[in-house]
Amino acid sequence: MNSDTGNEVLISAENLGYTIRGHQVLDAVSLKLHGGETVTLIGPNGAGKTSLVRILLGLKKATLGEIYRKPEIKIGYVPQKLHIDPVLPLRVRDFLLTAGRFDNQQLVVVLEEVQMAHLLTSPVQRLSGGEFQRVLLARALLNRPDVLVLDEPAQGIDIIGQQALYRTIKHVRDRHGCGVLMVSHDLHLVMASTDRVICLNTHICCTGHPDDVSAHPEYLKIFGQAMEGLAPYSHHHDHTHDAHGNVIPLAGDSEPGQHEAGSNDR
């Protein structure tokens, strides 16, 4: 991997392994996230993306390996599938205030960054999927994070809205100069806004610039069917997510052909 170019390492992981009830979720995963850099974790369902993110955030303990987080690091986290029960009366304003003490002006500033300032007093349960994801992003920005961690930030949004959201994320990163760690299961949507892609399927299959990864044999083996048409990919993904059938033969035969990282698989 490129050695540090002056950008400090915000989070790094060395040889992570995670096993739950005899099931290997993560195996020998190493990665680094630098300031100002957008890294996208991509992989089929069940590949261990969310587990990896939760371990990096310190929400879960890895079975093996080392984690480093910059001391006093501030993380803005957008979890996957956040559901707020309707029994909790919460306007966007109250929701943002769960992140800390802020005056109205500060709330409006972060909402403007995601084009949602008009929703300040709307109940959160009445927002559309896209509006809510943007409000989550605004909340993550309130504490001036060193790194934004976004787990499937575009779920439940139509294609146009997804592209707009990724543009907003890129814009926000450029303004704040923070690192971004994103989880996605669709490389093509995030290609334009990401610096580096890590293709995960229990272990790291391949990593690198989005163009390189999208042409990488490991990537094609996992996402092969999805590459054939221009139609929405998500349905195909659901059917190729059976990791074990794919991964085990792959890990054996194509190891030498890998470029960049992934080098730590045995």
């Binding site: 956040l82 205030l97 769960t98 992140a99 109940p123």
Partner: protein, 264 residues
Amino acid sequence: MIDDFIINALLAGVALAMVAGPLGCVVVWRRMAYFGDTLAHSALLGVALAVSAQLMPILGVVFIGVVLAALLFWLEQRRELSADTILGILSHSALALGLIVFSIIQARVPGIDLMAYLFGDILAVNQTEIVWMYIGTIFILSVFAWLWRALISISVNEDMARTDGVNVSMVRFVFMLLLAMVIAAAIKVVGILLVTALLIIPAASARAFSSTPVQMVLLSGMMAVAAVVLGLGASFYQDLPAGPAIVVAAALGFFLTRITSARF
């Protein structure tokens, strides 16, 4: 002519309502109704143990609450049984154990009345107890206010709260202690079997008329106070059992709010 005992009952009931209403909102937000019920049922065991050790009953209730929370935490680790099943087991075994210990000490401690603990005995509160209840109310509300933002934050999403630096386990533990204290105080008023009602019914009634968490907490407190006043009034004038009358007043309030909020 209003007697002292009814004034005392009102004072005690209002003190309790002022904490049960607000804390009940968090119970409802965090779906802890069944946990509250389990805590209440196990309180009898706490009372019985405290009485046999010649300690204040509240100490026994809080102690059992902590034991229960630890047991729940340990049993949930294995994930084979869902939380409601585990709570159902703990709740009823604790109540059964409490009844057994109670029957043993009943033979030794004269004048201790099981029914007073099961259904409350608010008309028997004395002035010392009232003073303690108000001290407790001020203490509980202060801690509640101190934890306020963290409580909302963990009600929204615990992972997000944790990455914001909230000590989620600490907040949960302290809230559980507060809840155990409220339940200990509520035993005197509505009794072990009806405690949960005073926590969740006013909160549920308040939801329809609130658009912020603060509004809901204030409204829930007011609804709880109203239920206590109406219930005690009905109990005094119609000679009804006080605890059940308070709960029925709260329930009537709930259905009334359902009907009125459905109109809008």
